[in-house]
Amino acid sequence: MPGLSAEATAMLILGIILFYVLGLGLGIYRAWRASKAREKS
């Protein structure tokens, strides 16, 4: 979307980081790490 303003682009990136990286991504990573640890033990 070339017409997206700089502020809107910044908020889009912020939303992706908050919701999908630090939020959902971190949660799934923690679950994956715990399941790997359980497999090893």
Binding site: E7, A8, L14, G15, L18, G23, L26, A31, A34
Partner: protein, 480 residues
């Protein structure tokens, strides 16, 4: 009391079921509008803060209560203190009434799947009259209502694993995939960047005190933490299960979906602005939120798509299938806790309990099919005000009538991140303060109070009093 207690087959199934409960119609037709109205991207800041300071903590609390006490809300509260049982029944009756009118909206959606596939409104001018004709034609609504209730009844009737877990295991991925199709179509339409700029560009003027209240309210309503569903769903977790991180994943999947779908909605709104040659969304002659967005704005937009009427049928149908799946996984999640409460108290079997709840709810929902005007005043009580009251009482009961450390010690050995003493502060102090402010603001600014709202409150109190006064089948509530 049923001796063979049911458990989720997989953790993934439990998480998908809780995501299915949390993602509902509001994610699709309310979040993005709140974002636009309350300062665009600036709205995301209080939204995330409230998610972290009371949304996720409340979901963890409901998971812990259900898992620790193994039952529905009346049983949980009775085990904390015997005279608190009526509050549990207030939550259950409230949830039961919610499912009666929610199913009617879902029936409209189901009817619209058929109407979209055939482009029944034909032209933009036909969109409004088509929706009005549906509302004034109860016979047509009853067909959608009957199909919806048969599917919901069968899902719950077949049990936790074969019914709810299996349904959500398919429905939630399909929901995301279809949403991705709509998002791609939305953001590639001419003018979509106009709509998305309006959605995301931070605006200091639009960001006010009401934006903060809206963010808190939206977090509360979007996560399905109203004292029933999440408690009962967590009660079906195996004895040693992970809880805090499951609540984290559920909450972010839900809020992430709202954010994701906003691009479909506002890409389409931008396209409408482009086609209708208007400069602000407020100038559009169509609603930007709620049922109006779903049943008027989206059909209008898809009618104007390049490649219509084939693209109208394809993308219109996809939109209403998404809406129906989101509503269906929420509907089954409000039937289950009502049955679970009856099972706990009266020892009723799943087959009989689900049939009783579904049949009674279906009969009551017919009233709304004939009188759709009743939905708003009833929803004001059940879906807005009572939900806040109940969660407020839940936080106070768990925080002050029970020892939260017992719950933390119960879940921490299996937790993927541990709950410390900070968690008690969030539940005992921060959450009640936020909820009291949300409730006070909502009641002081509302224009929804009507005789129907008052009657709804009276019915809920009478029903909860009667249900809590009846005898427990095995009188084991104290020690179970």
């Amino acid at each position: 009391m049923s001796s063979a207690y049911e458990y989720w087959k997989r953790r993934r199934g439990f998480i998908l079921a809780t995501i299915g409960s949390a993602i509902g119609l509001g994610n699709i037709w309310r979040f993005s509008w709140l974002c636009y109205r309350n300062g665009g991207g600036a709205f995301l800041v209080p939204y995330i803060v409230f998610l972290l300071v009371f949304g996720i903590p409340l979901m963890i609390l409901e998971f812990m209560l259900g898992h620790y006490f193994r039952g529905a809300t009346p049983k949980v509260f009775r085990k904390i203190r015997e005279n608190l049982e009526p509050i549990g029944w207030l939550a259950i009756v409230n949830t039961f009434i919610l499912c009666t009118y929610y199913s009617v909206v879902l029936a409209w959606v189901m009817d619209y799947i058929g109407l979209s596939a055939t482009v029944a409104w034909k032209t933009v001018e036909g969109v409004g009259p088509t929706f009005k004709a549906l509302l004034s034609n109860p016979g047509y609504v009853i067909i959608g209502l009957t199909i919806t209730w048969l599917i919901a009844w069968y899902t719950c009737y077949t049990g936790i694993v074969s019914g709810i877990e299996r349904a959500c295991t398919y429905a939630i991925p399909i929901l995301w995939i279809l949403s991705a199709v709509l998002v791609v179509r939305g953001v590639t339409l001419p003018g979509s960047d106009i709509g998305i700029n309006w959605l995301l560009t931070p605006s200091a003027q639009a960001f006010s005190g009401s934006a903060i209240i809206d963010a808190a309210g939206q977090i509360l309503f979007t996560l399905s933490v109203f004292g029933t569903t999440m408690i009962v769903y967590a009660s079906y977790l195996a004895p040693r299960s992970e809880i805090p991180n499951s609540a984290w994943i559920t909450s972010f999947a839900n809020c992430g979906f709202s954010f994701f779908f906003a691009f479909a909605t506002w890409g389409i709104i931008g396209y409408l602005m482009h086609v209708m040659n208007v400069t602000t969304p407020a100038d559009l002659p169509v609603p930007l939120s709620g049922a109006g967005l779903a049943f008027v704005t989206i059909p209008t937009a898809v009618t104007l798509l390049p490649g219509a009427p084939i693209t109208t049928a394809i993308f219109g149908t996809i939109f209403f299938v998404i809406l129906w799946l989101a509503g269906y996984t929420s509907l089954i999640s409000v039937i289950e806790p009502v049955y679970a409460a009856l099972r706990d108290k009266f020892g009723i079997s799943r087959k009989k309990g689900i049939a009783l709840v579904s049949l009674l709810a279906y009969i009551i929902s017919l009233v709304y099919a004939f009188q759709p005007d009743l939905i708003d005043p009833v929803d004001f009580v059940v879906g807005s005000t009572n939900a806040v009251w109940i969660v407020l009482l839940e936080a106070i009961i768990a925080g002050y009538f029970f020892n939260l450390k017992v719950l933390r010690d119960h879940v921490n050995p299996d937790a993927e991140w541990k709950l410390g003493a900070w968690y008690d502060v969030l539940i005992k102090i921060v959450t009640p303060i936020i909820l009291i402010i949300v409730l006070g603001w909502g009641l002081s600014t509302t224009t929804h109070v009507s005789p129907v709202s008052i009657l709804t409150v009276v019915v809920i109190i009478i029903a909860a009093t009667i249900l809590s006064g009846l005898k427990w089948k095995e009188e084991e509530g104290k020690v179970m």
